[in-house]
Symmetry: C2
Subunit: 334 residues, 2 copies
DNA sequence: GACGTCGATGTTAACGCAAACATTGCCTTG
DNA sequence: CAAGGCAATGTTTGCGTTAACATCGACGTC
């Protein structure tokens, strides 16, 4: 048995299908009594408008496409969940198109897939260099927003203020009395990494502190562990800021294995505030990005582009906040 | 400028739009030369079929709807990512519909949203009791698969073999020489929890070991910490199996604070193998579910339902594997 | 009281595609 | 060499919806 269509509702309510359409879309010029009759018919038949047909005739579906690389990582996963929720509240569905690499080809293939579905807009989570270039060459016929993308790119962008977050973390350690702060950074091609490095370096410079060499890593606990083993061997290290919480976890374990106590011997600050960070040994002081705010801003920018052709400043920055726990203390006295 | 449609391609290639359609859908009866001409025209115009139109005429879109509750948790996030990837390989897009609660109303609302888009199939990640009831009352006019759902329900189901995983974990601890194993469980309304409890209890019984009281918790490190504080105070506890890795993290910290060493004083085994589990203090022995296999099985069942109306045994169980690390050792001698 | 106005509704025409049916023209077969 | 079949292609129809235009009646205005 075929699902009921608009004409079925119309017949039952004794009106034309167009009147049903008007009721559905909240058009003003429908008599109250008619509206009620139509709504009753809709309820009786369990009618549900066919989005595909609507998308066909309007040329746009109520779907937002998201392009992301690795939705298993905590950050992207949280962002995706927040986007989904925000979109749902605005009446949009979310279609995910994950992608193996963030190079031009993969991204534009994913975008094209979304375009084939005539999505209303696209959000690209594009935290690395290679994505930036790809985005500028994309077809312009659909609203598009980049999240965590290239700050210098002309594409509409929402981003966590990495610099401010790193600054807060570094300053927090300096304020605790440390002479300087070491940094374990994320992958060098991520904008997140770059911003956090900048904020860290800038804060040290402003405080007149020495800038120690950078320890480059990726986002994994494994890399954190490796760096931690080096940090543990250098007696002068008293404070470490890691580019995310998983790195911090690895560092904590390495320090622990070397018999160093956190925060007594070395203080550590992370980034992300993963839910379990409060249960690291010791509970981790970290920087919390507001994913919900990022999601809201992204959708705002998307909808703004939908309504007006040329919107205002298509750029939003979301400030993260420092969460102080027990992994920071004054440096040990010599 | 309007996006090119099939007729535009047809005109350029000097054929009818139907021939273009045949080329696109890989129909056999098209001359090679014609096919090439059409493909050239497609490339020249940058033509891209309109999925919405296709969905309208076929009554089905190439989209799979996923209903999930909290895609921030590691398990669901991994599953979603795996599903997306598997679906993409089969030419399907994935639309996420997350849901605040897994009660009847929320689930059926999410399902209906997917139905409105005429999705080809729906995957419901329904790990709790309340979802089970909801699913049986759902409209039957679309292929549907449950993941981690009620093992007793008649709905097609793919599930990780929780019992086997828990059995492996428990047996591993018994084999190390422990007289018995304590268990910190997940939320009582999750099937995952129930299965893990069953496997644990059953293994102890089979070995003739005493079954100690259960420590009920949720999935959070916080709850694990709370339970760990109790476990640390009971001298007889030498081995703990926690229902997931985050609980284990909380337990580890509590034990650490009480001056107990893992694995020297107490052994701990988790569940999930989150990426950072190898960097806990100490590296955590845990049970790894194969999310990719679950995703593949789910899609299989979905596609099977698409093709034949009444398929075979619509039920698949995926066996997890034990990952041995350093959090397990022989019990301390008294 | 004829006429314009406006609100409520109906009618018709797309939207882009695939399925069903129709039409060619060539090749096989007896 | 005519009948039949079949491969290649064209034509028509309809999917369910919205937009544009058409109609109809009630009301107020001069």
């Amino acid at each position: 048995m075929r699902a009921p269509a608009m004409t079925d509702v119309a017949r039952l309510a004794g009106v034309s299908h167009q009147t049903v359409s008007r009721v559905l879309n909240g058009h003003p010029n429908v008599r109250e009594q008619t509206r009620l009759r139509v709504q009753a018919a809709i309820a009786e038949l369990g009618y549900r408008p066919n989005r595909a047909a609507r998308a066909l005739v309007t040329g746009r579906s109520q779907v937002i496409g998201v392009v992301a690389q690795n939705t298993t990582l905590y950050g992207p996963a949280s962002l995706l969940a927040a986007l989904e929720q925000t979109a749902a509240e605005a009446g949009f569905a979310v279609s995910v198109g994950s992608v193996r690499d963030l190079d031009h080809q993969s991204i534009s293939a994913a975008v094209e897939r979304h375009l084939a579905h005539r999505v209303a807009g696209i959000v690209v989570i594009a935290p690395v260099e290679s994505a930036g270039e790809a985005l500028e060459r994309l077809p312009k016929d659909v609203p598009l927003v980049t999240v965590d993308g290239d700050p210098r790119s002309p594409v509409p962008l929402v981003t966590v203020d990495q610099v401010a977050g790193a600054r807060a973390a570094t300053q927090h350690l300096l304020d605790a009395g440390h002479r300087t702060v070491w940094h374990v950074s994320g992958p060098s091609d991520w904008f997140d990494s770059a911003g956090r490095i900048d904020g860290w370096r800038e804060t040290l410079r402003a405080a007149g502190a020495e800038v120690p060499p950078l320890l480059p890593a990726d986002w994994s606990a494994a890399a954190g562990y490796r760096c931690g083993q080096m940090l543990a061997r250098m007696p002068e290290v008293t404070a470490v800021f890691t580019a995310n919480d998983h790195l911090a976890l690895g560092v904590l374990r390495a320090l622990h294995e070397h018999g160093l106590r956190v925060p007594d011997d070395i203080s550590v600050v992370g980034f992300d505030d993963v839910p379990e960070a409060a249960y690291f040994i010791p509970p981790l002081t970290t920087v919390r990005p507001d994913f919900a705010a990022v999601a809201r801003a992204s959708l705002d920018l998307l909808l703004a582009q939908l309504e007006t052709d040329a919107a205002g400043p298509l750029r939003r920055t979301i400030a993260p906040s420092l969460v102080a726990r027990r992994s920071v203390a004054a440096p040990p006295r010599r």
